[in-house]
Amino acid sequence: MDISKLSTQINMDDFIPATEEEKEYMVQMRPSSTFFKDSVKRLLRNRVATVCFFIIVLITLAAIFIPMFWPYSYDQMLGMTPGKPVDNTFKDLKPFQYGASELALIDSGESVVPHIFGTDSQGRDYFIRVVYGTRISLAVGFFASIIVLIIGMTIGSIAGYAGGKVDLIIMRIVDIIYSLPDMLMVILLSSVLKVVMEGALDGTVLAKIGSNIISLFIVFGVLYWVSMARLIRGQILSLREQEYVLASQAAGARGKWIILKHLLPNCFSVIIISTALQIPSAIFTESYLSFLGLGVNAPMPSLGSLASDALNGISSYPYRLVIPALVISLIVLSLNLFGDGLRDAFDPKLDT
């Protein structure tokens, strides 16, 4: 079209309909982001929490996999070979020292896996005992938290959703349990269970960890769920007033559906944060119970019992106390810092 530059007539060539391709180009759909993805992004931005997470993963992997290929085992007394006299050179080795027969092997050109942390008074490789101890401590912490989570979540959500008399009764039970001295309960239960379970456990996997740890789990299951239950009840009390719960009821949903589909997913952040913070407290409890001699059965080590055993030779071998203590501190500190990071990342109220 030939028109003057000053003409006010619109050049219709500028207004051709867009092709399908051009339309496609204009529609820019941002990939949908979920609350979870956003939170993980926030968590990764928190350096301390990320580092702690890697430390936890590293320690966990080490505790799981190192015993699989390490040539020594936690209960093998080196220098004790059937049919031969006891070789006392393996007892109380300092780090990176070797026993008499091992020195002979090294001289003949073979390589021997070093005793990184030396050996203990019975000639057992201390490194693998620390690794096993970590394994036990982590397992206790993890499973105890799972038990607390499941019981606390179930009871708390029922109390919060049902309300009224059910809530009243459950919360009074919680109050009563709160008033019981938990350490006393652990000690009482372990001594009772020791007698009750003595024979029953023989030959099962549980025999190795011993009745003390099982009583610890039972105490966690019976006593420690209360704070989790309170927490979740509080959350659910406020969430159930939301209109989407009413909408679900209006659609005909029952209590179980509403709790599972609407209420618990919205407590998700609180649940993982408090579970993450529960693990170190369980590890702590296990450690000092073991230190008091109420932990795992010998010869199975745990970090607490290793520290306890080390007390006998503390002036000659202080590192035997320092190493398990350091490992406990490292695990508990990392888990706590990671839990704090989780809370910052998952609590949207802090993020404005």
Binding site: S32, E243, Y244, A247, A250, A251, G252, K261
Partner: protein, 329 residues
């Protein structure tokens, strides 16, 4: 919907009462009469508007009809059947649904749009295959003007108007006949309100729906309703056809309420005198005896304190609960 079909009652409530126990002091509790002896009926294909100021029990009426609150007394009849047992209620939930006021809190932030809309389908097992469920959800999203790409998104990614459309699609999922709309547009912008209101109109024509439309915006209610009921302090004070009640309100409360509606023409607005009521709405915990409006009514007489006036049909299809309607008009 044809006029002939509108003669049949779909929903009928008789002497509905809903009292909540409120704790006053340590061991005492007193009933809060949120809804006190309300009766009305809604015809098939009709829209009944329910208006009144905040706290007068409009929302409670809507929720009690759907049995979200168990009625303290009274009967709810649906399609000629009394809704009483749990089995009745379960069946009733497939026919009567609700649209909520707040488009923000009525959608679960952890669910995708397709899960929110599909929830009633899941609850009632209304599909056989996943494919069937998906198709139904997309069909519902089409009804309310949402794109199929929106299905996998979360509620927080939408604007208020779009969220309300999601809520409406959810209420349509079970193919209901009756929808309680609890102030569905009061949380929206005026321009969006118009879109959503028109959508309600279109859906009514297309799907033959019956609405109970609760609102406090009188212009919106007039636009969408066939008949309008006015509530005050838990009681029904006036019920009439929409135009009748706007042109000839009888009850002094309705008169005052309607005089508060802004008129776009300043000349008319200046000519209209606003009736400003003295005092506040009394607490429903401490409702006045007799007629609840007597404390603020300019025409109150001693008789008003003695008994609650019955809802009487003054002219054709125009019901008023007042002792002295002749004094006012």
């Amino acid at each position: 919907m044809s006029e002939a079909a509108k003669t049949e009652n779909l929903v009928e409530i008789k002497h509905l009462k809903e009292y909540f126990n409120v704790n006053v002091g340590f061991f005492k509790s007193r009933p809060l009469k949120a809804v006190d002896d309300v009766s009305f009926s809604i015809k098939k294909g009709e829209t009944l508007g329910l208006v009144g100021e905040s706290g007068c029990g409009k929302t409670t009426v809507g929720r009690t009809i759907l049995n979200l609150y168990k009625p303290t007394a009274g009967e709810i009849w649906y399609d000629g059947k009394l809704i009483k047992t749990d089995a009745d209620i379960k069946e009733f939930r497939k026919k009567a649904t609700m649209v909520f006021q707040d488009p923000y809190s009525s959608l679960n932030p952890r669910m995708t749009v397709s899960d929110i809309i599909g929830e009633p389908l899941d609850i009632h097992n209304l599909y056989n295959t996943k494919e069937e469920r998906r198709e139904r959800i997309l069909e519902l999203m089409g009804y309310v003007g949402l794109n199929s790409e929106h299905a996998s998104r979360y509620a927080h990614e939408f604007s208020g108007g779009q969220r309300q459309r999601i809520g409406i699609a959810r209420s349509l999922a079970v193919n209901p006949e009756f929808i309680v709309c609890d102030e569905p547009v009061s949380a929206l912008d005026v321009s969006i309100q118009a879109q959503v209101i028109n959508m309600f109109d279109e859906l009514q024509d297309k799907l033959g729906l019956t609405y109970l439309f609760i609102a406090h915006d009188l212009l919106v209610v007039r636009h969408i309703s066939d008949r309008i009921a006015v509530m005050y302090l838990g009681k029904l004070v006036e019920l009439a056809d929409a135009n009748e009640i706007y042109d000839h309100p009888i009850h002094p409360y309705s008169k005052s309420l309607l005089s508060s509606v802004p008129v776009p023409d300043p000349k008319i607005a200046r000519a209209n005198k606003r009736i400003i009521l003295s005092g506040d709405i009394p607490s429903p915990l401490n409702a006045p005896s007799g007629c609840p409006f007597r404390t603020r009514c300019p025409h109150a007489t001693p008789e008003c304190a003695e008994s609650m006036p019955e809802l009487k049909e003054l002219s054709s299809r125009h019901f008023v609960a007042c002792h002295h309607p002749e004094n006012i008009a």
